[in-house]
Amino acid sequence: MYSLEFTVNGQLCQVAVDLKTTLLEVLRDKLFITSPKVGCNTGDCGTCSVLMNGKLVRSCITNALSAQGKEVTTIEGLAEAGELHPLQEAFHDNYGAQCGFCTPGMILASKALLDENPKPTREEAKEALSGNLCRCTGYGKIIDSVMAAAEQMAQAKS
């Protein structure tokens, strides 16, 4: 066993892992953070997406030890002081989530996009979310949500 030390949503964590443990297993089974979903466990669907040092990763195919010393953000880490993140607000207002299974991953993928490109075109937003599958929405309202959040965040800045 190895000792993995990393930060999850601002909190320092220490977990015993072996060489084959995935980041998804650590988050769900050891830390009981269940927002990253096990959609496929083969890297195909994006429901397990989290941010590692701000970069979008699929935690089901990320070796846990690669998070050593890094900062991981799940959807629980987005709200600040009880205030939803503008992306969360926008997904709520625009019916961007139906069953919700893809939603944590969708919102984190959207965050990764907006952090890099605060004013994406619709096409760019689609491309950024193309690794995250959704069975319910047909994606339109998800893209609407991302565009609305981008607008809202730009306004809040100015």
């Binding site: 496929c40 195909d44 069953c99 619709r122 319910c136 047909g138």
Partner: protein, 332 residues
């Protein structure tokens, strides 16, 4: 070469089950503060029944939507429901919910009638109040009435509702029967581009129009239409459960093999909501959910024919199948 084509498909769809036993029950309890708790057995899988049923309850009781809490997350403790499937929840649970809310409203009117020394027929529940029909200034807030019922008159304000259609039993001689509760109608239009070299089909536009009777919540209705649209595109072009059916070999075992459409495979879907009220549905609503996934594939297949003149009689219309069909026809 890339060739374009347009295709349409039409459809109709009933809701629920016609063989009998398709039942839903509902319970509306008015809290002492005038808010309401609706308990039903059908769960919300994202289609939004929690919202829609709360809207119906609020409408009947004349209270604000935010004053309704819906409990539908435990079939052990909730009234019976046949389940969330067959496009039935808005309709069947909706009718049960309306009946339960009306029942609760009747109790409130009775209590208010006692308080105002009127008869219940003279009263109306609207805008959070119960008021006298021909003297609207004489009124009681629903919270006041519910509070008086609970703490003054020792009454529990609970409405019960139930809906179940009679089974459609065919006449033994003629076979005639009435299996359909409400018919929703549909028209889909697809525009595609077919690559005659690779056999790939791209959906450029999908316009989906549905007669939903009444869109109880237009945004959720649109969400259903778009979601079904994307499923339909997947069914038409990429999703294959059993490539060698009835043989089960080579069936996909993960989401890498079973290709559901991504953001890049779906155009911006266009939904058109048409409302021709059902004569018996809740507020005129019909069943919508399931049919939205059925119409895109025929529209897309028709569009492929329009583009390159071949009929794809098996789904999905994968690049391989398109190329084989083109080969058989003799060149694109």
């Amino acid at each position: 070469m890339r060739k374009r084509g347009v295709g349409i498909a039409a459809g109709f769809y009933p809701m629920g089950m016609s063989g009998g036993g398709d039942s839903s029950q509902a319970l509306v309890k008015i809290q002492p503060d005038g808010s309401a708790v609706l308990t039903v057995g059908s769960c919300d899988i994202g289609q939004g029944c929690k919202t829609v049923l709360a809207q119906m309850t609020a409408e009947v009781l004349g209270i604000d939507y935010a004053q309704v809490k819906v409990v539908n997350d435990d079939t052990d403790n909730c009234p019976l429901s046949f389940g969330t499937f067959a496009s039935r929840v808005t309709y069947v649970d909706g009718k049960a919910t309306i009946a339960a809310a009306e029942n609760a409203r009747d109790i409130l009117l009775e209590v208010a009638a006692q308080m105002l020394e009127k008869s219940p027929e003279d009263l109306v529940a609207a805008d959070g109040k119960i008021s006298v029909k021909d003297d609207p200034d004489t009124s009681l807030a629903i919270g006041e009435v519910a509070g008086a019922a609970t703490f003054g008159m020792r009454r529990l304000v609970v409405g019960l509702g139930h809906y179940m259609r009679d089974p459609a039993t065919p006449d033994p001689d003629t076979g005639e029967c009435d299996p359909v509760c409400s018919l929703a109608w549909a028209a889909n239009l697809a525009e595609v581009e077919v690559d005659t070299e690779t056999g790939e089909v791209e959906v450029l536009r999908l316009v989906s129009s549905y007669d939903v009777g009444k869109a109880i919540n237009p945004m959720l209705t649109e969400g259903q239409i778009e979601g079904g649209g994307a499923m339909g595109v997947g069914a038409a072009l990429s999703e294959q459960l059993h490539p060698h059916y009835p043989g089960l070999e080579d069936q996909p075992t993960n989401l890498g093999d079973y290709a559901i459409p991504t953001t890049m495979d779906i155009p911006d879907l266009e939904s058109v909501i048409y409302e021709c009220p059902s004569t018996n549905g809740p507020f005129g609503a019909k069943g919508l959910g399931e049919m939205t996934a059925n119409c895109p594939a025929p529209a897309i297949v028709n569009a492929i024919h329009d583009a390159v003149g071949v009929w794809l009689n098996e789904l999905p219309a994968s690049p391989e199948r398109v190329l084989r069909a083109l080969d058989e026809k003799g060149g694109g």
